[in-house]
């Protein structure tokens, strides 16, 4: 039975970082770890305040803190004490692998459950329920993923026990307050190969984070959310009604033995690695398509005979919503691209190939324009691969930018889309 504690916090300003923290709490997360560093410190910093490790210093933590006290919300926070991101991620791994409670299936069919859980110690569960435990969040800045790579890569070999783990990465792609620039979509997508989303707005990030926990926990796989520098710090005025999932937060604690999964040595991991890429990845793609809107994505058709498709991600997506409010921008859009299908997408990896194929077969689309930020061109490369593999009669054009070119003054992503 659902046990949601709702609180109206009243009007306040929330940053992207705080929106993530909000989503994490709404998802009932019990253990949070991380390592500080701009631009994402405020995510774990909020949890530190809420767990009582340091004083509460802002309206968000003060008001949410009262809520947590009233409900008896359990929250553990380990931040600077973890000493580095690798330890933060390893601590998170330890906390997430403990499964001693169950929840009903929400997204998986019986056969799909067999695929994900059929070789675990839970395989004999008659109702094919989802083994669950503490939900866990681990956050760090972009460079932290290099340090944490050892622990994050192994997370894939431990599926489905790492379901319930969310990673938040604060990308300082333009090096505003970092000594190195980096596009973490490359690491999370192509190297760690875990479902990865780029958030775009402080108004919606909490819902996306919460829904990622719901879906990917059941699929038994960790997920990553990435924010660019601008979003981490950008504040918007909101009227948050916070819904804490107390049932999740109060799940039974306990470790269940399954050394074939949890002891990562060659003979154990080889079949898992194979299964992850050949069987589970197609399942993840399928589930992402089935839950495309649930994960905060949207397909909009402008006109009836679209020959172009736009994929807008991250900050491009955030600016694109202006088109809905401003008829002049919509005119410019149609003038530039003609009738057009626009995919407003959080998804970085994996790309839902079948969805694109379907749209391409339905419409006379000739060109797909990809707008993403980051030198890694992770979305573009996946679509290019799709087109080659499936022999689609469509051209993929890379129109993204490697990083926000201006510092201290917001770049107009919508102008880029309409003028490029």
């Amino acid at each position: 039975m659902e046990n949601i504690a709702s609180f109206d916090l009243g009007r306040m300003r929330l940053s992207g970082n705080q929106a993530i923290a909000r989503g994490v709490l709404e998802a009932g997360v019990r253990v949070t770890t991380g390592y500080p560093g701009a631009p994402i410190s405020d995510v774990q910093g909020s949890f530190e305040q809420l767990a009582g490790n340091i004083p509460k210093t802002n309206p968000f933590t003060i008001r949410v803190g009262e809520m947590l006290d009233q409900t008896g919300y359990q929250l553990a926070a380990h931040w600077g004490t973890t000493t580095n991101e690798d330890n933060a991620a390893a601590l998170a791994l330890g906390a997430v692998i403990c499964k001693a409670d169950f929840k009903k299936r929400e997204f998986l069919t019986e056969e799909e459950w067999d695929l994900v859980y059929g070789d675990t110690v839970f395989a004999k569960d008659k109702e094919k329920r989802i083994p669950v435990g503490s939900r866990v969040m681990c956050s760090f800045k972009h460079l932290g993923a290099n340090t944490a790579a050892d622990a994050l890569r192994v997370a894939v070999n431990v599926v489905p026990y790492t379901g319930g783990l969310g990673i938040a990465s604060g990308d300082d792609r333009q090096g505003t307050s970092s000594q190195t620039m980096q596009d973490n979509k490359v690491l999370f997508g192509f190297h760690f190969r875990i479902p990865t989303l780029e958030l775009h707005s402080p108004s919606t990030a909490h819902t996306t984070v919460k829904n990622c926990y719901r879906l990917f926990e059941e699929l038994g796989v960790p997920f990553a959310v990435i924010m660019n520098y601008d979003l981490s710090y950008r504040e918007v005025s909101v009227d948050p009604v916070v819904d804490l999932d107390m049932e999740v937060n109060h799940r039974r604690k306990g470790f269940t033995r399954d050394p074939k999964h949890l002891v990562t040595i060659g003979p154990h991991i080889r079949p898992r690695e194979r299964k992850f890429h050949s069987k589970l990845m197609p399942l993840f793609k399928q589930k992402i398509i089935e839950n495309f809107e649930f994960l905060g994505n949207r397909v909009t058709e402008y006109g009836t005979e679209p020959k172009a498709m736009l994929v807008v991600n991250g900050p491009f997506r955030e600016d694109f919503r202006l088109v809905d409010d401003d008829p002049a921008l919509k005119d410019r859009l149609l003038k530039k691209y003609g009738d057009v299908v626009v995919i407003e997408s959080n998804l970085v990896f994996p790309q839902p190939g079948a969805l694109y194929e379907n749209l391409v077969s339905k419409h006379p689309i000739e060109k797909i324009y990809v707008f993403e930020e980051g030198y890694g061109r992770v979305i573009y490369l996946q679509l290019l691969d799709l087109v080659n593999r499936r022999n689609l009669e469509v051209k993929i054009l890379d129109l993204g930018i490697p990083y926000e070119p201006r510092i201290y003054e917001r770049f107009s992503y919508i102008d880029h889309i309409l003028n490029v």
């Binding site: 019990r30 253990v31 770890t33 553990a76 380990h78 004490t81 973890t82 000493t83 580095n84 690798d86 330890n87 390893a90 601590l91 998170a92 791994l93 330890g94 906390a95 997430v96 692998i97 403990c98 001693a100 435990g133 503490s134 866990v136 050892d150 622990a151 192994v154 431990v158 039974r252 604690k253 306990g254 470790f255 033995r257 050394p259 949890l262 002891v263 990562t264 040595i265 060659g266 003979p267």
Partner: protein, 309 residues
């Protein structure tokens, strides 16, 4: 002549051989002996508290990369979680956040892993929420992969500085160590921080030292009272006299020592494979059939001391 099994691929040169290296610990490996004591200690802890069934405390053993890792391969159920190099202690503290209050987490690292991620172990020492029992398999080196020169560690100074109480053990005195761990579990629940340094776990390496020092290590002896030896005779009789019944007989009767100590010498009943570690001396064989003859590392891991015996 080509063999039916493992036919050589055509492109392979005739003299090219691939050696299949089975994953397992050496017979007398100290890592496995410590693990026996860790588990046996838990059994005794529950017995002392008169806890039965679901009320019993349970052990969770989070280990690290290296030879301690190999124990996770065997179907002996010793190691519960192993992830990345140096992560044993910090993964253990993550488990403590989400496991039940009836589960006690012991973490173990080799001395190489200790140096690799000293900060993870320091975290376990400083984390006020939980107790910690962190075992170090100290073989003075990262030897199994080629005799590297290690970064020297003064465990007593470093561990104490972190806030651990330091205890050194001889890994082969399995009964003494089981008694020690029994006591430590109570102290863990009191949130105490203990680092147990098992000195000289690499029997392979010490065996070489002993040989170079002219010491002939001893070996185990099994008396005729051994349940497996007796049962083997019974199986022979059945095979001879009632062969149709053979398939219904189990293969072994006991195997407690071999499985408990993860020792091939005991499993194969072959004193030739015995490394002379001496764990058999303190192993509680249910019928007292196990003994040992000659010098063993359970007396001392120092070659000078061993020479005197």
């Amino acid at each position: 002549m080509s063999s039916k099994q493992n036919p050589a691929p055509k492109h392979k040169a005739a003299d090219e051989i691939t050696y299949l290296r089975p994953v397992s610990n050496c017979s007398g490996c100290g890592d496995t002996k410590v693990s026996w004591s860790v588990r046996e200690g838990m059994r005794r802890f529950n017995r002392q508290l008169k806890l039965k069934g679901k009320d019993r405390y349970e052990l969770i053993y989070a280990a690290d990369r290296g030879c301690g890792n190999l124990q996770g391969y065997h179907a002996y159920g010793i190691v519960d979680a192993i992830f990345c190099m140096g992560s044993g202690a910090i993964v253990g503290d993550g488990i403590k956040e989400s496991c039940s209050e009836k589960q006690i987490v012991v973490t173990a690292s080799g001395d190489g892993a200790y140096n690799f991620n000293i900060s993870g172990i320091k975290f376990a020492a400083k984390n006020k929420k939980f107790g910690a029992i962190n075992v170090i398999y100290n073989n003075y080196n990262i030897r199994m992969t080629g005799g590297q020169i290690p970064l020297e560690v003064d465990f007593d100074k470093e561990g104490s500085a972190f806030g651990f109480e330091m205890i050194h053990i001889n890994p082969y005195r399995v009964n003494d160590n089981a008694e020690l761990f029994k006591e430590l579990y109570g102290r863990y629940l009191n949130k105490e921080k203990i680092m147990v340094v098992a000195d000289g776990v690499c029997v392979l390496d010490m065996g070489k030292d002993a040989k170079n020092s002219g010491i002939r290590m001893g070996h185990f002896i099994r008396s005729d009272e051994c349940l497996d030896l007796k049962f083997a005779k019974e199986r022979e009789r059945v095979a001879r006299e009632e062969p149709e019944k053979l398939k219904d007989l189990p293969k072994f009767k006991c195997r407690l020592c071999g499985i408990g100590l993860r020792c091939h010498a005991l499993l194969d009943n072959d004193p030739g494979k015995c490394f002379g570690c001496g764990a058999c001396i303190q192993f509680p064989c249910p019928v007292g059939a196990l003994s040992f003859e000659g010098p063993s590392f359970s007396t001392s891991i120092s070659m000078t001391e061993l020479k005197k015996t």
